[in-house]
Amino acid sequence: MTAHACIIETRALQKWYGGIHAVNDLHLQVRAGEVYGVLGPNGSGKSTLLRLLLGLVRPDAGTITLFGLPLATHHNRILRRVGALIDKPDFYEYLSAYHNLALLSRLSGLRLERQQIMTSLEQAGLAARAHSKVKTFSQGMRQRLGLAQALLHDPELLILDEPTNGLDPQGVADVRALLLRLNQEQGKTVLLSSHLLQEIEWIATRVLVLRQGQTVVEGAVRDLLGRSSAQVRLVVDEPQVARRILEDATEEVQVLEANNGHFLLSMAWDQVPVLNCHLVEAGVMVRAIIPMRSLEAYFLSIT
């Protein structure tokens, strides 16, 4: 697969569940080596899209191509190269974590040594519980086991549905770091859906926002943030001078709150560094510029 080749492509994808149009005329392109985020409110079609890409549900119309091969005719060949975690991670409760992974690796056509499976469990932080039955696991442990099974066969593409669900803050940070490492060091392509906007903002290179199964917006996170109007908290030492500079930039910056050197501003995201320059050039000591959840503000404005 050449760099930036299209790994996932859908054309005019449609899926109905009874009278509900779950996915509506969806055109999607995910390039090799990118982290692609799918965002949307509940019921927007995120999970259905991911299930369609894995052949778990059948499209009513349109085509799905992965690695340049049509999913409808090359299902097994494609899935050998894909690791997936869809919805909540369910396992055979009456089997141990080790036994579950051993069984799944055999289903993937692999004959893993005991040590390889144990390494996988160690990476997921579950080595100590390798031989405990999954029914004794917490939600966070299941989620980590879910990620371990998705990575078991060293796939080129990861399709992950809410991969940090149920994890504690440390677990969320670990998963985020793991995904970034897999993407940056091993060149794996990641497609993930999440309701945590911050998560997508931090790790995704491109994002698709869905509403009622349709694309609302799609593009590079940087571009979307540049387009969006962000809220910025500004802390300075010279409030009067700063106020004058802010008022001079009337059209680009709106002062929402001002209190003794603390300002809350609404402004275009890409104007934040420009404002910083103006303040510094005017001799204002800028103590802090804190962006206030920019993608969330943008997301809420378009959905």
Partner: protein, 278 residues
Amino acid sequence: MTTLLWIELEKLFCRSRSYIAFIAIGLIVGVIEWGLRLEGRQGLELMIQNLQEAFLFQGNLLNGYLVTYLVLNSLWLHVPILIALVTGDLVSGEAQAGTLRLLLTRPVGRLQLLTAKYLIGLLYTALVVAFLALTSWGMGRLCFGTGDLIVFYQTINMVPEAELPWRFAAAFAYGGLSMGVVASLAFFFSTLANHSLGPIITTVAILIGCTIISTIEVGIFRTVQPFLFTTYLSKWQGFFALEVQGEEMGLAIGILVGHMAVLFAGAAGVFLRKDCTT
């Protein structure tokens, strides 16, 4: 395919549910044989009281073979429930637990997966029937010894002891086949549902309904009886006729195999189009 079969087999025998049938059969056969040991001889005397006026009975009539025959008669209604408990859960249970999603995101063809599950369902059925045969025959022989078999099938038949091993083997093999239809029915419903209770209850309900239609001799029922699998469930008794009717038994076997083929084709048709939404 071999890997899939081994995996399905492993999963089947790692579940406690799979052992319910074996435990239940062991208990039921034990209770029946204990009851017969206590009062079986009086019961048998009562049954052949009138016949003793015309015939002279010699030897051990209440023997292990008769006990096995009685166990067979009494258990064919209960064994299907035990089989449906497992085969009705093979697909729907995985859908309910969410593990079907896990399986279908692996490079495994749906038809392959379904075939493996179906074959394991049939193997399980065969094991349950074999266990029934071994426990009833083994315990019967141990507690009641051996002898000729007296059976009431169309007429009074005295089957010599020497013929009994092959006749019982054929009867149990036929019984296994008829239970295979029950397993196929439960398996078919299992592909339709996302919860395992539905297929099990539906299978048992159909079994009861069809058995009633198969046994009541009413005009309208008579026309459908040849097409119902339940009409052929008790045909294993044909192996204890003085002359086994080869053609009749062959037809019955053909109809049962036909039912299994149609039910598996139906299951495949459903499963290949099934949206995995659980």
